[in-house]
């Protein structure tokens, strides 16, 4: 059997951006200081996605503002990381308070991947929003970009006694697959600048250039399949014995997201690979992710799922 290799060819510009990003730092901190624009320049426009944000602008008034010699009304959408979509009442109040006082639309938007988004956060409010989330025990690390996204878990805790155990694993998987770079804390939370310990082993799982595309993980508690075990890259189906979680059946390779008109990116369903005991969970997750990392197609941005 011949060795499997990543497709050869010229890498996409996304790969250059990630590789040159100094572990997701880019020059984001400088852009935050730039008083001429409400947006991010060059590579930073994409790099902020790894920190959970997309730069957007109010398209309805884009033309009007150009006439007014004003740049588009740039702002960011921020997506929170919330494994399994579980928050406390105190967190909810805090989330709502920030939305009301510091976003353009005053709203919290719930997503279909068990988290929420703030829309219309102006640049001056970006560091404050991260600090606000941080003091609520939340963050937006890796909720966008070419990384493992928010980990889903069957949502109804009343439905199954296994929920607490399974949800714990959703959180563990999320943590395990997070970027290890301190860029997030450094840029947004006044974190200590870590003295150049950046080496090629800083990101043992994600690697210096992170993943070729976004990556989605779920934890499913039968009989519910609300998070859809066939529609995500990596799916852990909870297996219990005497009311205790003992391991997972693993399904790999699904994905719904597609680029319009590009048949190579059409949705695909996940394949069942078999049972793993609990203690192999994180190892398995890392093995699947590193396989995607090493063998995925890096010649185009957002390549096919597998």
């Amino acid at each position: 059997m011949s060795e499997i290799k990543a497709p050869a060819g010229k890498l996409s510009d996304n790969e250059r951006q990630k590789g040159n990003s100094k572990y997701l730092r880019g020059t984001i901190a400088e852009d935050l200081q730039d008083p001429l624009t409400g947006g991010f320049r060059g590579d930073n426009f994409n790099l902020i996605r790894f920190h959970g944000m997309y730069e957007q602008d109010d398209r309805d008034i884009r033309g009007e503002r150009v006439e007014q010699k004003l740049e588009p009304l740039k702002n960011v959408m921020l997506r929170c990381r919330m494994p399994g979509g579980v928050i406390t009442p105190a967190q909810w109040l805090g989330i709502e308070e920030f939305a009301a006082s510091h976003t353009m639309y005053g709203s919290v938007r719930i997503t279909n991947r068990q988290t929420f988004q703030y829309h219309g956060v102006l640049k001056q409010n970006i560091r404050p929003v991260h600090q606000w989330l941080h003091q609520l025990g939340l963050d937006s690390i890796a909720t966008a970009g070419d990384v493992n996204r928010n980990v889903l878990c069957t949502s109804n805790p009343v439905e199954s006694e296994l929920h607490v155990q399974a949800w714990e694993w959703a959180k563990k998987i999320s943590e395990h697959l997070l970027p290890k770079t301190q860029a997030y804390a450094e840029i947004w939370l006044d974190g200590e600048k870590v003295q150049s310990t950046d080496t090629d082993t800083l990101e043992p799982i994600l690697g210096k250039s992170y993943l070729p595309r976004k990556f989605k993980t779920t934890v499913i508690i039968p009989p519910q399949n609300d998070v859809d075990l066939h529609a995500n890259d990596l799916n852990f189906v909870a297996i219990e014995q005497d009311g205790n979680l003992i391991g997972f059946n693993v399904l790999i390779g699904g994905g719904l997201s597609m680029e319009h008109g590009n048949t190579a990116t059409f949705p695909t369903t996940a394949y069942e690979f078999g049972f793993i005991p609990l203690e192999k969970t994180l190892e398995t997750a890392a093995a699947v992710v590193t396989t995607q990392r090493d063998l995925g197609d890096r010649r185009v941005p957002n390549p096919p799922h597998w």
Binding site: P35, L36, T37, G38, I61, E64, R65, V66, E67, Q68, K69, L70, E71, L73, L122, Q124
Partner: protein, 565 residues
């Protein structure tokens, strides 16, 4: 003296060369150009009459030279709250300072220009007049103060003065010593003789009337472009554009209704013209700025006790006119008047001045200005500024406006293109800096450019944001700082940015940078000056007095220039 004394034709005082007395100094202290025009006409008439004289603008005049003068004629305007015009600040300060110049042998006369709707009417003229006397100089004749319609009074003073000098001077001055002393102003290549003037404006077509604040802004600021066509009009960055505006017909009709005047009735204006009253109110009379004279006159006509009381209390009257438009006075105390009575209460309309926001090196035969709408509510009625309402709300592209250039003597880019400049402005005070940068960019001038701009909000009030971004990208704009007063809990203004970047500011000054300040005079310019003094003291390690002297030195060497209003 005899005011009727006409200048004897051709009094060529050529016979008097035995004594080389120093020429008469005509000193103009002008803000908008009116005082300069009067001084210029005085100088022309003295020359024609054979009296040797030198015309200087106060900004070009070193105050210590005053000790060497023999006779000085001061034409001084007043701005804001009784302050001298920008160019005369140094002279004013020197005269009132600890070591005033020695003027005991000096003879002098003063003509003051002002606006009687302000409390300290002609204060700068009064200051020069009384201070020179205090310091021992000899007053030739009593000061004359002119109101906004200054022309006739000023002309009379000029005639009188020339006549007096012809009588007293012609025998002991060298008549044709003048050429060597013809004023720097006349030869100043930066001040062009204008074809179109305040009296004979050019009718320009509006090319663009574009709001440049966002839909969420609390301010309506417009960018206006005018087509100068083949008028041949030339201007320099730093000059102002005079705009003859028309009053709002709706406001005129409201005034006619309150006074029961038929708009078709004829009235005779101060200049002798007879016109329909409605037309006169729209085109020729000031109805958006209240004056003490109006309130006093109306109080007499109505015999309304509250108005009579106000008219007798000048402090209360000042406060009242500041917040009560003419229309509101009439609405509150309606009274039937004749058309002529109504018009006699009102002053002639005067043009409004706007700092030019463009450079011809960039825009060719166009001139641009930046206009903020003045808007306020009184007695549940919405009022707008006369000119800003006209420009921002009642005109659009294709409409015509009467305009003229008012050259600035002292708001000018450095001669040396290498000299760095620091531009400090708030609100529409950004206008001349757009002109500065257009010129420096078009001519590829290499001096550094630092913009310090303040307004309410980054996303709504960043005037010309896209242009500044382009200039920063090409590195023409080398440094920039912005103060958005309402984007955070505490108010941040341009002076806070100066303090914050004090070290950098001091370094730029050490490199010979010129400082420019444009915008609101009453608060911004004062706060900026205090911040500048603080930076100079702390970064330069200077005492308060030495920092003050340092800034004076900058002002006198034209490195600290202001266009404030």
């Amino acid at each position: 003296m005899d005011a009727s004394g006409a200048v004897p034709a051709g009094v060529a005082a050529a016979q008097a060369t035995q004594e080389q007395a120093s020429p008469v100094l005509v000193l103009s202290a002008s803000q908008t150009g009116n005082a300069r025009r009067v001084a210029q006409s005085l100088q022309d008439k003295l020359k024609a009459a054979g009296v040797a004289s030198v015309l200087k603008s106060a900004g070009d005049y070193k105050s210590r030279q005053l000790a060497a003068e023999r006779l000085v004629l001061v034409v001084a305007s007043t701005q804001g709250d009784g302050e001298p015009p920008e160019e005369a600040l140094s002279l004013h300060k020197a005269l009132f300072g600890k070591k005033p110049p020695e003027v005991k042998s000096l003879q002098y006369a003063v003509l003051g220009l002002g606006d009687s709707s302000y409390p300290d009417f002609c204060q700068a003229g009064k200051d020069f007049d009384s201070r020179l006397e205090q310091l021992g100089a000899q007053r030739l004749f009593d000061r004359v103060d002119c109101d906004l319609d200054y022309q006739a009074t000023a002309d009379e003073w000029v005639e009188k003065t020339v006549a007096w000098l012809v009588e007293h001077e012609s025998r002991n001055t060298a008549a044709n010593a003048a050429p060597a002393s013809v004023s720097a102003l006349v030869n100043d290549p930066q001040v062009h003789a204008q074809i179109y003037t305040r009296e004979k404006p050019f009718t320009a077509t509006i090319l663009t009337n574009q709001k440049i604040t966002s839909r969420n802004s609390l301010k309506d600021v417009r960018h206006l472009e005018f087509d100068l066509g083949d008028s041949g009009i030339r201007y320099q960055p730093g000059d102002a554009l005079g705009v003859w505006f028309r009053n709002d017909p709706a406001l005129v009709d409201s005034i006619l209704a309150s006074t029961g005047v038929d708009g078709a009735e004829d009235v005779t204006l101060a200049d002798g013209k007879t016109l329909g009253v409605r037309y006169a109110l729209i085109h020729h009379l000031e109805i958006t700025q209240n004056t003490p004279a109006f309130v006093k006159g109306y109080a007499q006509l109505t015999q309304d006790q509250a108005l009579l009381d106000l008219a007798a209390d000048s402090k209360a009257l000042q406060d009242y006119i500041a917040e009560t438009p003419i229309d509101v006075v009439l609405r509150r105390v309606p009274q039937t008047l004749t058309a002529q009575q109504l018009c006699d209460l009102l002053r002639p309309l005067t043009p409004r001045m706007y700092s030019i926001a463009s450079a011809q090196e960039e825009v060719g035969d166009e001139v641009h200005i930046t206009v903020a709408l003045v808007e306020y509510e009184q007695d549940a009625v919405q009022y707008q500024g006369g000119a800003s309402g006209y420009l921002n709300r009642r005109l659009e592209a294709g409409d015509e406006v009467a305009i003229f250039i008012e050259p600035s003597a002292h708001f000018r880019l450095p001669q040396d293109p290498q000299t760095p400049i620091i531009m400090i402005g708030a609100g529409t005070g950004i206008a001349p800096f757009r002109a500065f940068l257009q010129k420096r960019d078009a001519e590829d001038q290499e001096g550094g450019n630092w913009l310090i701009f303040g307004n309410q909000s980054f996303k709504d009030d960043f005037l010309y944001q896209l242009e500044w971004q382009q200039l920063a990208k090409s590195e023409r704009l080398s440094h920039y700082s912005f103060a958005w007063s309402r984007d955070q809990q505490e108010k941040i203004y341009v002076q806070h940015k100066l303090l914050q970047e004090g070290k950098q500011l001091w370094q730029w000054l050490q490199k010979g940078a010129h400082l420019y300040v444009c915008g609101d005079a009453s608060r911004m310019a004062k706060d900026v000056e205090a911040a500048l003094l603080e930076v100079i003291a702390s970064e330069g390690g200077l005492s308060v007095d030495d920092a003050d002297a340092y800034l004076d030195e900058l002002r006198e060497s034209h490195r600290y220039q202001r266009d404030v209003y």
